[in-house]
């Protein structure tokens, strides 16, 4: 499906909330699985956060997965004036959470940037709390609202559109997550297809707030429909 989109001359951007690996490693994994993808075709929360940090002169304290740290290599992290929170997994220790909390509560106006707001996810050894749960803990303790830079934030989809160089009305999003993918893309002015695979649940079709522009059974069918209408 990816190959057919590219062959048609359409531009393509992969939007992921992956925050346990750099884009380089993410792309390496996809290429290993046979997908023809390059780093510049991936929009991910960490680079979006780096842009935001630069724009606002923020120096982060990182509470993220070890494998994500290289994404922040160019960022000044001395004397931090904000906290960047990702899915830190094993780094979510009592000591690390207290450290991030102390930095935030010591700021005149605490700035908490979260790379996502997922509730939980599944790994081979079971369900795990996702970054959103720890974000809520710090929000409550510090009485602040985090700025979320991953999906479904508008800013995230705007970044992807900027990479593509197209306005939202000329783009279409294909995804399996009713809120993070479909809802986020639509709020940004894009049309959005939901695939009936992956995270899709039949109950999504009665979602109280989000309604995709269309459903498709899978990615191949989405590509069929899009290419037919060119």
């Amino acid at each position: 499906s990816l190959r057919r989109i590219k062959a048609s001359g359409l531009k393509l951007q992969l939007c992921t909330n992956e925050t346990q690996a750099t884009r380089e490693n993410f792309v390496r994994k996809l290429r290993g699985l046979g997908f023809d993808v390059s780093v510049s075709e991936v929009t991910a929360p960490a680079p979006a956060a780096c842009r935001l940090l630069r724009e606002r002169g923020l120096r982060p304290h990182l509470l993220v997965h070890d494998d994500l740290v290289p994404e922040f290599a160019e960022v000044d992290k001395t004397n931090p004036n904000c906290v960047v929170l990702g899915d830190a997994a094993e780094n979510f220790t009592y000591a690390n959470l207290n450290e991030a909390f102390r930095l935030l509560i010591g700021m005149e106006k605490p700035v908490l940037i979260s790379l996502g707001k997922g509730r939980y996810y599944k790994e081979t050894d079971g369900l795990k709390l996702d970054v959103g749960a720890y974000m809520k803990a710090l929000e409550y303790a510090c009485d602040v609202q985090a700025e979320v830079v991953g999906k479904p934030s508008k800013r995230f989809f705007e970044s992807a559109l900027a990479e593509l160089g197209v306005p939202p009305e000329q783009a279409i999003m294909i995804g399996d997550d009713i809120v993070n993918d479909v809802g986020g893309a639509q709020q940004c002015g894009m049309r959005a297809l939901q695939v009936r695979t992956g995270k899709y649940r039949p109950s999504d079709e009665n979602h109280p707030e989000v309604k995709p522009d269309a459903y498709v059974n899978n990615l191949a069918e989405a590509v069929d429909i899009i290419l037919q209408q060119l």
Copy 2:
């Protein structure tokens, strides 16, 4: 001040949100400091939780401080159908939080009982996240609302009144925390004095929701006023 209250014939109950020690150890510490206090004069979240568990036939999975576990010695903890959360401190590990989360998300209707909802507290080595932050994390991940059994819950103050055997209008609460002490007691129908010591902050006097019946400079002054009016 405690001695003067007791000598006057007034009944006394100490209401604490302490969840890092059994009442026995809490009282031992107070007695070591010279206070004449007995276990039956202490109302604390863990015994309140035990009452609630018994009433509702709940079998808890405990995520609490090691030193609190003996309070739950009599409670059936096999095949848990709820999670009891306290200030677990070093027990707030990534693994323990995931374990509590998995139990909750696996229940048809998750039941989360929290021994308090404090944001943070100070220890000699710095500020620490309190149980409320971890409660928020689990609430968000499981889309449930915790039942709080410590202060400021109405149930907690009702327990204290039941121990005293007096109706709320014949009791007066003296405390330093505008929300947990003063707000909680007033919601239960008691009058409440705020002492200008401990957690008290001048900004409390402009609190948008809670207004004590009176301010006193310290506990000794509170006792003076109460004894004068007998």
